[in-house]
Symmetry: C2
Subunit: 154 residues, 2 copies
DNA sequence: AAAAATTACTTCAAACATCAAAATATTTAA
DNA sequence: TTAAATATTTTGATGTTTGAAGTAATTTTT
């Protein structure tokens, strides 16, 4: 295979990465949640709707210093997106939750992602999609330092 | 197609995005350029080796505030990666270039990307790769607000 | 050609993000 | 019951980002 194709795919991936960073933020700035930065949205996303994660879980998930998360949560709580809930069993832990407003943001962001993936996969057959998924798996393996179990064909 | 697959692919894409952000930075921290952040590397990359872009071109390309680029370039110039060249025709214009050290970073980062794409595409046939490229095109179209010319099959 | 508008970039002040280390509160182990 | 461990917050220091105002050079208009 020619390196040209790889080079071209690389450029496109870089472009996609950049676009996602920019567009996610701008999309939301236009809506009713213009007081949120992309980092805050990612924090809201990590906190998530469906369980009450602890502060340390969330800070690990986001790979940020616990002190940084405290500051972020302070801001998000002040703006009315996030709640702190004191743990019941263990009163040292803080469990984080979303307010109604926080849940709207969560859903809006989720729907952006759904649309994005829908478009990404538009027009491909099931077989082709499973192929694409395999390529993404390769990428994840590379990124997470796992050797790729290459399904070589002859 | 079941939404499960899409949901799974979405999760993987999010993971890949997060990994790329984290890993690119850590990779470089280990090497001889540990005084650079990921944003600085992306700036070096945008400034690029092959032409002398202007400040505004670069700040547009990175979608950052011009003032932010000024600060970034100040830092990169101080650390010896980037040069400012006053424009010859129009003396308002600043053209940006890389020092020898800046060019090394550029090449190191490029080789990381080459490895990443190689692994991403490992084990796929040419046909499959062109399929994957098409999916990435879809994604870019979506991100950049272009309608997708769907190649629907029956 | 002088004044006005435009442009390319920089500076500034304020908000926010980040980290390591110390402090606080709570729980568990000795 | 004291000591050690854990979960989070505070503190202080440093860096990043932004919008808006400022400076300088160029182009357009009158």
């Amino acid at each position: 295979m020619t390196g040209d194709v790889k080079q071209r795919i690389n450029t496109k991936l870089v472009q996609a990465y950049r676009d996602i960073t920019n567009i996610e933020e701008k999309e939301l700035k236009k809506g009713p949640f213009s007081d949120l930065s992309i980092k805050e949205i990612h924090a809201i996303n990590a906190i998530s709707m469906y369980e009450h994660k602890t502060s340390s879980q969330v800070s690990k998930e986001l790979s940020i210093n616990p002190g940084t998360l405290t500051a972020t949560v302070n801001n998000l709580a002040r703006k009315g997106y996030v709640l702190r809930l004191r743990g019941e069993h263990d009163r040292r832990v803080i469990r984080l939750g979303l307010t109604r407003k926080g849940r709207s943001v969560y859903r809006l962001h989720a729907s952006f992602h759904r649309k994005m993936v829908d478009t990404f996969l538009q027009g491909f057959s099931d077989h082709e999609i499973s192929l694409i998924e395999k390529a993404i798996d390769h990428l994840l393996n590379f990124l997470e330092g796992r050797p790729n179990t290459v399904s070589t064909r002859i």
